[in-house]
Structure formats: C-alpha cells, structure tokens
C-alpha cells in the first residue's frame, strides 16, 4: 500500500490500483489532426493577392494596347470611308460592342448608325433542302 501525503488527509493507494494504473498507461491517446497552418497561409495570402493584381493589371494594359493598335486598322478597312465610317456592306460579321461603338462614333448620324446595326446582311447560306426558321415563320404570317 502506498501513501500520498496530501494536506492533512493521507491518501491510500492499493497495490491493485497501482497495477491497474500501469495497465492503463499502456494505452496511448490518439494523435490529433495536424494543425491548420494559419499563419503561413496568412503570410502567403497578401503575396498571392498582390501577384494576382499585378497580373490583372498587366493583362489589362496589354489588352488596351492591342485595342489601340487594331482599332484604327478596322476603321481603315471600311473602304473610302472618312473617320472610320463603316459601310453597310462591310458588316458581314457578327455585331460586337466594339463595332457598335465604332459605328456610333463615326456614322454621319445616329439613325444611320442604328440602321447599320439593325440591318445585317444575311451571310449564312442554307442548303437546298433546309430553311431558316425565321424565314418560314415570316412566310406563314404573310
């Protein structure tokens, strides 16, 4: 029997308890999950955000430079047009915001620009046995 002198009341420990204690100590508590590495991610986060911002800025600058370079070429492609005015016949490709802006900027009047935007020449050629749905529907109404 072992005695633990704790304060005024002695605590007795049986031999069985001691043996049982030894037996219990054989068990090892399980390992906890690894620590989330908060501090490292906090340090790397601003660097990553800074890099992302720099990349975005660089891409934006390149895009603007390309637009500035190609913009006048597009306007000049409209043959004989002054100030980049685009003839109706030249709008065979889909209308984009960029083209719409160019039309609005350089067309002689707003009406002319709207007309150019509205009336696109139908470039798609349908095979003999196929028809456009719009064409069929418009025919039915008539």
């Amino acid at each position: 029997m072992r005695r633990w002198g704790l304060g005024r009341i002695p605590v007795q420990m049986h031999a069985d308890d001691e043996r049982f204690e030894v037996y219990l100590k054989q068990f090892r508590p399980r390992q906890p999950e690894p620590l989330p590495n908060e501090r490292r991610t906090r340090v790397t986060r601003p660097a990553f955000a800074l890099g992302a911002c720099a990349t975005t800025a660089a891409v934006a600058v390149i895009a603007i430079a390309l637009m500035m370079r190609h913009g006048p070429k597009l306007n000049h492609s409209a043959d004989g047009a002054e100030h980049g005015y685009v003839e109706p016949a030249t709008i065979s490709q889909p209308l984009t915001i960029y083209k719409a802006n160019a039309l609005l900027a350089h067309a002689p009047s707003l009406k002319a620009a709207m007309d150019l935007m509205a009336f696109h020449p139908q470039s798609a050629q349908w095979p003999k046995n196929q028809q456009s749905v719009l064409f069929v529907l418009s025919k039915e109404k008539n």
């Binding site: 605590v11 308890d17 390992q31 906890p32 999950e33 620590l35 501090r39």
Partner: protein, 166 residues
C-alpha cells in the same frame, strides 16, 4: 520570450494527444475537443507563448478554458461520442480499447477528467488540483473512485494487469 512556430508545433506534437484526450474527457466528443485544442494552438502560433514559464500547465489551462467557453455557448453535458476511438489500438485488440472507452464514458465527468489527467497527461495531484480548481485531496479521492469503477467496468480485463507487469 519569443516563441517560434517550430517550438509551438513541437509542443503540439508532444502534448497534443494528451491534451486532446483531456478535452474529450471534458466535452465527450472528439470533434469539439479537436476544435478546442486547435483553437488554442492556432492562437499560440499567432501570438506566441509570451512570458509563459510552465508551458505544459499553461496549455492544459488554455484547453480547459477553450472547452468551457465552447460548452457555455453550446450545450453542457452533451452525449459522449461512442464511435470514435480515443486510444491507439494495442495489438489490433479493438475490444480492449472499446472496453476502456466504455469504462471512461461511464464515469462521472469530474472523475473522468481526473483519471485522464493523472494517467495519460502525467499531471501530478497538485497540478491536477490547480488546473481543476479543487483541492488535492479531492483529486486523490476522485482518482481512487475512478480507478475502482474503471476496474469494475473492465472486469474481464483484469488479467491483463498481470501481463502488463511482466
């Protein structure tokens, strides 16, 4: 004292398992216990140990406070987690671990905490008393009662005690 993250990670490796077991003994659930322990160490990684002299005692106090704060916010005396093992399985004997876990679960929370702190966390009576804010005599009596009940609960395993001594 400025503590590096390596020092804190070393403390986690050294005391993490026992701290987790102590938190489980308090909360009853491994997940919330894990949260409490990690919360303490993440805070330490951010702020450092400062002027702490007795790191071990400090860690146990922090974990206890974290568990108490979380259980204040949630529900006290939650049902104990039955499925997750608390200990590594010895010699693939799952029944032994289960028997011990059931025995611990059957103990009142105060006795369970004392037995965990004494046996697996290696705290002295005085340290346990200081941590739990009770007298050393209370710790000793709780410990004795806990061992007695645990031995009864694990009755069939008493033969293993003799094996452990050999």
């Amino acid at each position: 004292m400025h503590s590096t993250s390596t020092e804190i990670e070393d403390l986690y490796r050294q005391h993490g398992p026992a701290l987790l077991l102590f938190a489980i003994a308090m909360t009853g659930a491994r997940s919330s216990a894990q949260d409490a322990v990690q919360q303490v160490f993440v805070r330490l990684l951010e702020r450092g140990l400062g002027g702490v002299v007795h790191a071990k005692a400090y860690l146990y106090r922090c974990v206890r406070n974290a568990v108490l704060n979380s259980t204040k916010a949630h529900e006290r005396n939650v049902a104990l987690d039955e499925d997750t093992p608390w200990f590594d399985v010895l010699n693939r004997d799952f029944t032994e671990e289960l028997s011990l876990r059931r025995g611990l679960r059957a103990l009142p929370s105060e006795q369970r905490q004392v037995v965990v702190l004494r046996v697996w966390c290696g705290l002295t009576y005085a340290e346990t008393a200081s941590l739990l804010e009770i007298s050393a005599n209370t710790v000793a009596s709780r410990y004795r009662y806990a061992l007695e009940k645990l031995r009864e609960a694990m009755g069939a395993r008493e033969d293993s005690c003799a094996d452990a001594r050999r």
